[in-house]
């Protein structure tokens, strides 16, 4: 019985650890909170560059979350908040950077790779067909 309780509390401890990387911030409406969560998921933490702002426990990430929270409460929209961050930290802060300039290659690369793949398959299939044709003639 006791064992069961220990296991359960350990399990809950593990859960709480992942759920509360963030300090509590007050929101007026659940919609606002959802918007905040969505926005911080799309923004990169500059200190640990493979984490987003929502998950990061770095002090700078905490500061930036508070800053974003304040701007949201002051009625600024997502674009204004993103512009604020890009002006200071550059495109790098956005996980989905705007299309254009130095990010163009980044956005086009999947299409380019797909095209290269298609060409390779086309040539392989055509070669195979020709080989089969000659084999059949010889046989």
């Amino acid at each position: 019985m006791l064992n069961k309780w220990i296991k359960l509390s350990l399990f809950l401890l593990v859960l709480s650890g992942s759920a509360f990387a963030q300090e509590p911030l007050a929101f007026d409406t659940p919609e606002q909170e959802a918007r905040f969560q969505q926005l911080t998921l799309e923004l990169r933490c500059l200190v640990c560059q493979n984490q987003n702002l929502a998950d990061s426990d770095a002090e700078l990430a905490r500061d930036l979350r508070e800053e974003i929270h304040e701007m949201m409460m002051a009625g600024q929209d997502n674009e204004q908040i993103k512009t604020f961050l890009v002006d200071r930290y550059g495109d790098f802060v956005l996980y989905r950077p705007a299309i254009g300039g130095n990010t163009l290659l980044l956005w086009l690369m999947p299409g380019i790779l797909l095209g290269i793949g298609a060409i390779v398959i086309l040539f392989t299939v055509r070669n195979r067909k020709r080989q089969l044709a000659t084999q059949r003639q010889e046989g």
Binding site: L46, V47, E59, L60, R88, Y89, F123, N127
Partner: protein
């Protein structure tokens, strides 16, 4: 024909990609600052150790200066400290500190222990001015020209090579 050349082409392309990757790998975590070429952000901060004195961005215009972001909790700041000290002592440029997210007592003790090369240090306890400068790790250094524009940013430790190749040429020496 193409079938035989294709592996070679792919190999060369991958080799090129690897070469480029290795070349930029050293600088991968350095984020280019969007502040370069723009006016430094506005601020008004108390001076470390002289809490009744406030210095604003406006006050610093007129002579180029190096704003060195440091903190007592930052090991790399201690590592670069002799280089910053030599630059300040050479008199080539004003060296001003931005004491970033630090406790005043810790910061002053750090300066007593390792020496104080700064004309003065601005105390950015909350890190809010750091955000305006796009600081994401200490140490960082910003070179600001006489008109108040940011002309160069060094992320990480200052080195003698950077002083010679990036800083001195930008202040006309």
């Amino acid at each position: 024909m193409i079938g035989r050349l294709l592996p070679v082409i792919i190999f060369l392309a991958l080799g090129l990609l690897l070469a480029v990757g290795l070349k930029i790998a050293d600088h991968k975590t350095e984020i280019p600052s969007p502040l370069i070429g723009k006016r430094m952000p506005d601020f008004a901060l108390p001076v470390l150790g002289q809490e009744d004195r406030t210095v604003s961005a406006e006050d610093l215009i007129g002579k180029p200066f190096l704003l060195n972001v440091w903190a007592s909790w930052c090991p790399t700041c201690r590592y670069e400290h002799p280089v910053i000290t030599d630059l300040a002592e050479s008199g080539a440029v004003r060296v001003i500190g931005l004491n970033y997210r630090d406790e005043a007592a810790d910061a002053q003790q750090w300066l007593r222990r390792f020496g104080n090369p700064y004309e003065f240090s601005l105390a950015d306890v909350s890190g809010r001015t750091g955000i305006d400068f796009g600081v994401y790790a200490a140490p960082e250094s910003f070179l600001v020209d006489a008109e108040g524009n940011v002309v160069f940013k060094q992320i990480g430790a200052m080195t003698y090579e950077v002083i010679e190749q990036e800083i001195l040429p930008r202040i006309g020496q």
